[in-house]
Symmetry: none
Subunit: 124 residues, 4 copies
Amino acid sequence: MVIRIDDYSDVPIYQQIRNQIVMGISDGRLAAGEQLPTVRALAIEMGINTMTVSKAYQILKSEGYILTDRKNGARVRPEMSKSGALSDANKWELKRIVSEARLSGVSKDELIGIIEEGYKEGEK
Amino acid sequence: MVIRIDDYSDVPIYQQIRNQIVMGISDGRLAAGEQLPTVRALAIEMGINTMTVSKAYQILKSEGYILTDRKNGARVRPEMSKSGALSDANKWELKRIVSEARLSGVSKDELIGIIEEGYKEGEK
Amino acid sequence: MVIRIDDYSDVPIYQQIRNQIVMGISDGRLAAGEQLPTVRALAIEMGINTMTVSKAYQILKSEGYILTDRKNGARVRPEMSKSGALSDANKWELKRIVSEARLSGVSKDELIGIIEEGYKEGEK
Amino acid sequence: MVIRIDDYSDVPIYQQIRNQIVMGISDGRLAAGEQLPTVRALAIEMGINTMTVSKAYQILKSEGYILTDRKNGARVRPEMSKSGALSDANKWELKRIVSEARLSGVSKDELIGIIEEGYKEGEK
DNA sequence: GTGGTCTAGACCACG
DNA sequence: GTGGTCTAGACCACG
């Protein structure tokens, strides 16, 4: 999976990496159990600091998205524990987006369309 | 309308203020043309610096959500120019949320429910 | 001549009044020697403070656009002393506008068109 | 590129900085992609506060003239999105200047000359 | 009384 | 080292 960084984004690089890996897992580009590149390899490939990649992996691990062991590096967690609930942060963020969309004259259906799409991708 | 700041959030205070005012406008708690508290009043009420409130207002102004005049302070803009399009940033953010929700086992309908709710509030 | 104030403009009200009167003189809506409304009358008509109108008139007087006498109030100066030169401030401001226009992809001809128009209006 | 501040101008310092950088980009003194001085460096060089420079940069960023990244500071944006339209504010300002120029006996051609010059500079 | 500007100085996250 | 955030406090123009 290709990870694409926007150097000029307000979102920190480690966060961008973390986000794209989560999205990759969700839409099936990264399979359960799949091996991730090593910190060093990814850092070199992207031309960034290893600390930055490492921070992204640490977050993914603490969130339960990946597993790491010293021998094999990191891989996508096979069985993810599903809380079944939307996090508070995401809930508020979603509400914010809906508010802005509505005020910009974006239709409800356009937002729903994006959601439908996100649940369709990588469907088994 | 009460504005509530989370001191432990990593979202800057001025951004939190900005977000809550936008959400207030969208859901009708702030009516078109309604007077906002003065910079000073809000700063005192919230126990923060006037510069911080001022920055929030200036962003809202530059985004077209509010108007300010020297005499009366700030008001919600009566007629807002609607771009009709979701911003790129919000689109990506929404996709990220959908990915995380899906991986947490949150149903598509729960997300759609939040959207429906956001479009219903303050409806005339 | 109708003077229209934008309460939400960053330009101070007295400056807006001053500008519109200068433009009125330039395009012929205000004739040389023509009587202006009294400070009081204009203030009441516009629903603003007399001090604000007074300040506008004082600037116009100091710039040589109008004459005032205690008896007759203010009127447009019949023979205006023409310096023949663009003020430094206006020259820089014009350069700024040209720079921004160019970077926005506005054609040279569009700017020239606005100038031609300004010199045509009220031509004798 | 040298930025020169007029302490006696009523144009705010951050606005003067912003204006001069825009003009520098337009006339080619600042090339696309070129590095700008860091906020701190420019503040020291000009003997002003970092907040003031920072505000100028943030405006330039929000207007799409520059990009900033955490590592390298600010650069002139390589490809600018061109609206193709003159802003309302600039249009009115231009009309005001034309009115004043005309009343001062400045010829139409002198104004056009300034425009031609502005579109010639930095031409490739 | 209103918002806007500016400073000195501290602290922070990112990389 | 970079930009970003926040504060306390001063001063200003406008109306």
